[in-house]
Symmetry: C2
Subunit: 321 residues, 2 copies
């Protein structure tokens, strides 16, 4: 453990960039992601070293309610992308596991199909560290994988609540998965997914009700107010378990990528992602400043607010002032 820690950041970054065929490279990439999870002070140096190499990876978000087959679809998509010769990293983010560190998901999503493929890197990551949220750690992990030279970074999130909205803010292309037999219409409306998908995938397309899911989804999409009107999100039928429909899916992803580039939307999305990342880092820096240097003052203010002698806005002013 201590031997690993002693590796200098420039060496670690060079090793990560050497290509996965080198097993040292896999370990270096894994080590860099761990630095993100730990919110290590060395990240600053890591990101400085990686900066010249970022901006090349295609970032694809995959989200959907539990049970729609996200892991299976991710797995099948990895196979498809590998067949096209692309180096793929998978980041499985589990926001439902703030305490366990995502270990349960980690066990589930082993994706043994790709275990021996040096062109695939798979990592399950706890999303909710003490610095809070997908918004802090995931973009940093994406940055590491991008800088390490992966062509595609697939980010799989358990789609419940806020996480799928956040992933849409991070990804170049967001795939929203649905499946028959899961409440269908309501499931779509409830999660706010109509606003965030670039591509919709009805998985388990061989099951009863899949055509209805597609029909309902198309109707709902036709009615939904979407901010980017230029791209009309397609609805694809996939049976991931039998590897059916993956070729079409990969083709549509390419189509979307081309549209992103031509329309200028790619640059806009990436700038937005970077803006959120910079903000999140700045906020985290401030929080730790308050917590480390101003602990007593913050505690004093909090007590005053808790007992009603001060209101929280006045206290926030004091904290900032």
């Amino acid at each position: 453990m201590s031997a690993r820690r002693n590796i200098e950041v420039p060496d670690l970054v060079a090793a990560a960039r050497a290509g996965l065929e080198d097993s040292r490279s896999v370990r270096a990439v894994a080590r860099l992601i761990s630095l993100v999870e730990e919110a290590s002070p060395r990240l600053r140096e890591v990101m400085r070293a990686l900066a010249p190499y970022v901006g090349h990876a295609q970032v694809i978000g995959i989200t959907g309610a539990p049970g729609v087959g996200k892991s299976t679809t991710t797995n099948a998509l990895v196979r498809e992308l590998r067949a096209a010769g692309r180096r793929v990293a998978v980041l499985a983010v589990d926001p439902s596991s703030p305490f366990s560190g995502g270990a349960l998901l980690g066990d589930r999503i082993r994706m043994t199909d790709h275990a021996s493929d040096p062109g695939v890197f798979i990592r399950s990551m706890a999303s909710r560290g003490h610095l809070g949220g997908l918004s802090w750690s995931t973009p940093q992990a994406i940055r590491v994988l991008d800088g390490a030279g992966f062509d595609v970074v697939l980010v799989e999130t358990v789609g419940v609540g806020q996480s799928e909205v956040e992933i849409a803010g991070l990804a170049d292309t967001t795939l929203v998965l649905l499946a028959p037999g899961m409440g269908d219409g309501i499931q779509a409306a409830k999660a706010g997914i109509l606003e965030i998908g670039d591509l919709y995938v009805v998985n388990k397309a061989d099951r009863d009700g899949a055509a209805k899911v597609r029909r309902d989804l198309r109707s709902a999409l036709a009615l939904a107010a979407r901010s980017e009107h230029a791209w009309r999100p397609p609805v694809l039928m996939v049976t991931a378990q039998r590897h059916q429909g993956l070729e079409d899916l990969a083709a549509e992803i390419e189509e979307h990528r081309a549209w992103l580039e031509e329309s200028g939307a790619l640059a806009a999305r990436r700038a937005r992602r970077a803006r959120e990342e910079v903000e999140a880092i700045a906020v985290a820096a401030l929080r730790s400043r308050w917590e480390l240097q101003g602990r007593d003052r913050l505690d004093e203010l909090a007590s005053a607010v808790a007992t009603g002698t001060m209101d929280p806005y006045a206290a926030a002013d004091e904290l900032l002032g």
Copy 2:
């Protein structure tokens, strides 16, 4: 609408505090919560006016996976608390609905049992405004209800992911609900609920498997590492739909409250809640400063990061410096 807006904050606060028997009071409380949802600039004045009156309400968080019967249990608990003569506010927070503003949940959770009871105030609230998260809006809404003179504030959250952890940070007492037939053991471990409950409620206790849920939960709790060892969370059997077990539940809530006061944990929890609230307000203030005054600068920095000419830490330094 504009007529409502013209009411001065001191009048609104006075009306809110007049007691719910007065229908103007109900409207005033609702209006104040709306100011929270809108992140109104007038909140500063509201919180200043309310500060002398806060700190009396008992804040109870209710969380659990979808389907365990949170709304039914909340409903039954309200009935029990009303029978004891307490004024009750219910805040239903729906983190799964960032876009719809919680409207779907609002429809579902009408709780018509209490519609004509002037001692009950029920509000469904969207948790994910542009300022982000339960951590910003929910404590402010609790503050409003506390200042308005409610004896108990029940905060019901859809327990998926981060929200139940956040609610545990906000509430004096956190109830975690489970029910038979929902995956049982895994469901407990996965959501990290073993760490956050002050009271565990097995709802639908009349169904097969309820005793097993209790047994499994007790075993898991015995093994779990908990930070506050002094309180051993009880596991209660409830059938909310038939109003069975509610008396015991209310008694255990009182027991926990007494423990909180005697042990000093109440003051500590409330100071922690206030600290997070102050931090969240300060962070929101900074973000809006950056977004309003420094838009161009932030965009410049974001572009530099997106294109790799700058790393995000250096950009964050510039933003803060």
